[in-house]
C-alpha cells in the first residue's frame, strides 16, 4: 500500500528519524524544528529539544514561528539566559546533535547564511550566522536539512559562515575540543553523509521515486553516490498523520494572531 505524501514531508520524516530517543538536540528554527518536534511526537518522546532562546527541554504543541515564541518557554523544563545557553549548555558539551538549516551548502558541508556575492558589496544579504557557527563546532555532531537545489548546493560556498569540514575537507583535523561536524544532510531528494576520508558529501540513500539524475541535476558539483546506495524508507501513515496535525495546529495558531 503506497501513501500519498509530498517531497517536503518525505524530507521532514527522514530528518525526524535521524534523531534517537534521549538525544539532546540544539534545534534550529524552520525545517530542523519541524523535524525535531515530529521525532518527539513519534519515535523519540524523550528527545531533549533545546532552542537558543534559552528554553531547555521544551515540548511545544505547535511549531514556533520564531526561535523564542511563548510556546517554547511555556512548555520548557526551565528557561535560562541566552548567554548561559551558549556557555553552559552548548559550549559546556551537553548537546549531542545540532540540527541546522542553511541557505547554501558546499561539498564539504560548509554552510553559508551570510551573503551571496562579495562581502563588501553583497548581491543578496542573508541573515547571518546566528547560533550556527558554534553549534556546528561545539555539538557532538550536526545534522543538516534543506531543500535540494543548485542554488543551495554549490561546489564552494560564497562565504563559510559555519564550518562543515572546511574548504579543503580538513578544517576539523587537529582542532581540540571540536565535535564530529556534519554527519548527515537530509534533503527532499536524498540523504548524504561525508566520505570518511575526504569528507566530501556522498549520497547514501535516495528517497522513493528519486533518481541519481534528479540529485545530480539539483547539485552544483559532481555529486558522488555510495557504492551501496540505499533507498530511504517511506513515511508511515502515523508519521504523516502526526506531521499534518502538527502543521495544521501550527497554521491555526499563527493565523489566529
Amino acid at each position: 500500500m503506497s501513501l500519498d505524501y509530498s517531497s517536503a514531508e518525505m524530507m521532514t520524516v527522514t530528518a525526524a528519524r535521524a534523531l534517537e530517543n534521549g538525544m539532546t538536540c540544539f534545534v534550529g528554527i524552520g525545517l530542523p524544528s519541524e523535524a525535531a518536534n515530529l521525532a518527539r511526537l513519534t519515535h523519540a518522546p524523550d528527545v531533549v529539544l533545546i532552542y537558543e532562546s534559552g528554553t531547555l527541554q521544551t515540548r511545544p504543541q505547535v511549531l514556533p514561528l520564531s526561535i523564542g515564541d511563548g510556546e517554547l518557554a511555556e512548555s520548557a523544563l526551565t528557561t535560562v539566559a541566552v548567554q548561559e545557553m551558549f556557555r553552559y549548555w552548548l559550549q559546556g558539551g551537553h548537546i549531542d546533535v545540532g540540527f541546522l538549516g542553511t541557505a547554501q551548502i558546499d561539498r564539504y558541508a560548509n554552510l553559508n547564511t551570510t551573503l551571496i556575492g562579495d562581502y563588501r558589496e553583497p548581491k543578496v544579504r542573508l541573515p547571518g550566522g546566528g547560533g550556527a557557527p558554534e553549534i556546528a563546532t561545539n555539538a557532538g555532531e550536526v545534522f543538516i536539512t534543506l531543500k535540494h537545489s543548485r542554488r543551495a548546493f554549490v561546489k564552494d560556498v560564497d562565504f563559510v559562515t559555519t564550518l562543515g569540514f572546511g574548504r579543503d575537507g580538513k578544517g576539523r583535523d587537529g582542532v581540540p575540543n571540536i565535535g564530529k561536524g556534519p554527519t548527515r544532510v537530509i534533503t527532499d531528494l536524498c540523504v548524504m553523509k561525508p566520505d570518511p576520508e575526504t569528507r566530501e558529501l556522498v549520497v547514501v540513500s535516495l528517497h522513493p521515486g528519486v533518481s541519481r539524475e534528479d540529485v545530480s541535476d539539483a547539485t552544483g558539483w559532481e555529486i558522488r553516490f555510495a557504492d551501496e546506495l540505499e533507498h530511504t524508507p517511506e513515511p508511515s501513515a502515523r508519521e504523516l498523520e502526526i506531521l499534518r496535525e502538527l502543521k495544521e495546529r501550527t497554521a491555526r495558531a499563527h493565523s489566529g494572531q
Binding site: 534559552g54 520564531s66 539566559a81 548567554q83 551558549f86 556557555r87 544579504r125 547560533g131
Partner: protein, 276 residues
Amino acid sequence: MAEFLSLHDAVARFVEDGATVAMEGFTHLIPFAAGHEVIRQGKRDLTLIRMTPDLIYDQLIGAGCARKVIFSWGGNPGVGSLHRLRDAVEQGWPRQIEILEHSHAAMACAFEAGAAGLPLAVLRGYVGSELPSVNDQIRFIDCPFTGERLAAVPSVRPDVTIVHAQKADRAGNVLVEGIVGVQKEAVLAAAKSIVTVEEVVDDLTAEPDYHPNACIIPGWAIAAIAVAEKGALPSYAHGYYPRDNRFYKEWDAIARDRDAFTQWIDENVMNAGGNA
C-alpha cells in the same frame, strides 16, 4: 536610583544622536514602543547593537536612525529577510550603514562580559568560520594553561540600553520573566538604561508569584523606567499578551517596498502618540 519618566522624556534625556544603543529582548519583550519613540524623536547616527535586529531595527534603519549595526542574526524570524536592513546594506537606502557581525555565542558572551565589567569575552568560537576575516573585532588568544586557541571579542558596553519588562515596583526594581534573553546583561553592561514596563506594582517581593531567584534588576542599577503598556507588541510579554505572529508575516510585504514602509512609519509611528 531609577527615575520614573514618560517614555518621551526618557528617550529625550538618555538617547543622544551618535550614541551606541542596545535594545535587547530575544524574540520576547522587544522594546517596540521605545524604538518607535526613538524614530519619532528623529535620533540620528546611532550605533545599534542587538543579537537579532528583528523588525524593531528594520524600522529604525529604514527610518534613517542608524549609522552602524552590530548584530549576529538579522532576519525576520521564521519569515525571511529584514528588507530595510538589506536595502540599507545592498543599496544604501535611506543611507549607507556599516555593519559588524558576530555569532550569537560571541555576542551573548560579549553582553555577559560587559555586565561583568570586563573588556573582553573569551569563548570557544568561530572555529573555521570566515567571520573573523570580515570582523576585525574577533581575535584569538592562547590559554596560558592549556595552550588552546580561543576566540576573544570586545565586551558590549553601550551608552544606553533599552529593554522592556513585565513589572516594576515603586522602588524601581524590575522583574523579567520567561525568555530573559540577555536583558539583564544588556542593562548592567550599559552606562545608562531605560526599562519600559507593562505595569507598576507596589513591591515585587510581595507579589503572589514572587520567587526567591527571580530575574529582578534592582532600581539602583537602572536610570529610568517608563510605563509602556503593550510596549513589546508585535513581540510579546510572557504572562501578558502573545506574539503577533501575523504581523511578523505581514511585515514582509510592508518592508519590501520603500513607499509602503514609509507610509507605515508615518501612520503607525510618526503620527501615533506614543505613551508620553
